[in-house]
Symmetry: C2
Subunit: 357 residues, 2 copies
DNA sequence: TTGAAAGCGATACCAT
DNA sequence: ATGGTATCGCTTTCAA
């Protein structure tokens, strides 16, 4: 018996078989470089010695390739699986990554700045997809410093980073115009959060302006334009935060809208999950959406169709696919930085209708 | 200007500042090991030189730690995001991983054996979570050979691998007994696939036996026991495969069940997504579930509650959390291999009722 | 085909 | 607080 104090390595196997490291390496990575009898002998010896195969990290270092792309969220990782919009996006990314044999590394974002920077540095990846990342995030500069391909979605400040997204403002307008055309003027808005995650309740115009989230700015901006064009004073439009992007949170926050004297005739939600929560709240109160009150969402997640929710559809799966492709298909340096803008459309279903009289 | 032909490395920065590599390394990894003035000088020089920070692969190699755990599916990666059960599980894994600063690497499984083995070898991870993996999968031995911590869910053959799951057979019995108690004897079963993915239609008893999927065996076995106890000949029980685990596929396959002379009075589905598809098919035909026909699912995904589906609840989030913990909390070698069995329960809602007369 | 030598880029340990 | 040295485990020329 050999002493098994130290783990078996390429060298161990090479010595055992009486060949060089190169040959053992080839046995794994380039089967065509040696005759299969020798290869079998090597593999057999490896098995016998308990050699686990070429070390992944060492291989990655030597080759300069990780075989994975990193997905970076600001939200908690588990949120990535909680929100159907996010799931749709990830699914798109996964489709493309998979077809090129690339793994997907979901990178958690620790709270502290130093920790976050370290996390971004330690990710063994060939590129980053930034998702839901505030315009100014400390970890962003680390990611850029690494010099790997990067792509952003939704939030796009930096023109030097490839981007795939939608026209947030114009898309939001679609929903708002639909409502004003139906005659609605007393409109309220439901968002996930404005200033800080978790904080629910009405947000002032100043707070809206100070938000770090470009998507929120775009969507609120679109709503605002349309409503002002219809003669509504934006300062009087209640913008209510659910605190978190969840159905129950939205349902709870909807109380601010529904249980008041001058209940709005319509609610614009910046996401379908929120809109569905508002619908839940309506149901609890015996309000029939589309008749007693109008509710419009954003995203068109799968559940929206079942709930007959009027919403703005954005192609989340396609977004993910395009983002992944931008990362995986190398572009030549001369080329302009790609900026993909995907189309959106208003989907009118049953939750919106004329102003009740 | 320095020549920038070669990428900046630790050494480059060390030379520039006139310190040793160690000190530069410490500036990044152990800020407390040097005075902050020097650290600032180093970081500044790094910035100036375009040094991207310590290389992730090199660091991972040297430290012997990857900072990520690998999730391995047999299904396509995008499927992981398509199935709500799977999403719930992943969410649980993500919660725990995140809390310990660990990333999640979703590893695609290529079709070929060699490719699959390479993919498992190249994953830079500290452990593997095997999910939905057939009892005999070629990639499995590579994973075990790597000698990293491994945990399986659902499919469990090997007693040497830690496992978290449910009692498939007993849980399936819950649903079946509920139906037989209601008087149902003409019962059909809907599964995703038996022999090979994609193949839809009725499956013979032989095909059922030959399936590689332990979960399927467990659930069908449970149904069978109960039905036979109730005097039903299993050979006469239609077991229909939807081909894929999707709602539309199930709805389509339900035609085999609903559009026949002796329509069953009840359908047992091995998953909620399938059950929901059956409900869709019922709706198209004007059949009211719970009155005209009974439908029971399995999993209790979020949509099930909305659809008022009777089903067997399994704690998918908890499954994920436990699996992640088994991977991340190191156990001492002497300890027995953990096998966690999570509880399930029957959730009776509106889609099941007495036999229509 | 096979092998020798030269790194890939960083960190740990032990002095200083 | 700093620095020297050894090493992590592999792949890649290039020559034999």
């Amino acid at each position: 018996m050999e002493p098994r104090t130290t783990r078996a390595t390429l060298q161990t196997v090479a010595d055992e078989v009486g060949v060089s490291r190169t040959t053992v390496s080839n046995a794994y990575s380039r089967p065509d470089q040696l005759n299969s009898a020798l290869r079998e002998r090597i593999l057999e010896a490896a098995r016998r010695l308990g050699y686990p195969g070429p070390d992944a990290a060492a291989r990655s270092l030597r080759r300069g390739r990780a075989g994975a792309i990193g997905l970076v969220f600001t939200e908690t990782l588990s949120y990535a699986f909680a929100d159907p919009y996010s799931v749709g996006f990830l699914r798109g990314v996964a489709e493309v990554a998979e077809s090129s044999g690339t793994g997907l590394l979901l990178i958690p974002m620790p709270p502290g700045t130093d920790e976050a920077e370290t996390a971004m540095r330690d990710a063994v990846v060939d590129g980053f997809c930034l998702y839901c990342m505030p315009v100014r995030h400390p970890a962003k500069k680390v990611i850029q410093a690494r010099g790997l391909p990067v792509v952003t979605t939704d939030e796009n400040d930096d023109p030097s980073i490839p981007h795939v997204g939608i026209d947030e403002r114009a898309s939001a307008r679609l929903a708002a115009e639909h409502l004003t055309r139906l005659g609605h003027r007393r409109v309220a808005v439901m968002v996930d959060h404005v200033v800080e995650p978790g904080r629910a309740g009405r947000a002032t115009v100043e707070e809206q302006r100070d938000s770090e989230c470009a998507v929120l700015h775009g969507r609120l901006g679109g709503y605002r334009e349309v409503l002002e064009e219809a003669g509504v004073d934006w300062a009087n439009v209640p913008v209510v935060a659910a605190g978190r992007n969840s159905r129950p949170a939205a349902a709870a926050a909807a109380a601010h809208l529904l249980d008041v004297a001058d209940r709005p005739t319509a609610v614009l939600a910046t996401g379908d999950v929120l809109a569905l929560g508002v619908l839940d709240a309506c149901e609890q109160r015996g309000l029939v959406p589309g008749r007693d009150i109008s509710v419009a969402g954003f995203d068109d997640v799968p559940e929206a169709a079942r709930a007959r929710l009027t919403t703005v559809r954005q192609p989340m799966g396609e977004k993910g696919r395009r983002a992944a492709r931008l990362l995986l298909d190398p572009r030549d340096p001369g080329e302009a930085v790609p900026r993909v803008q995907l189309p959106t459309e208003l989907v009118v279903r049953a939750t919106t209708g004329p102003v009740p009289r």
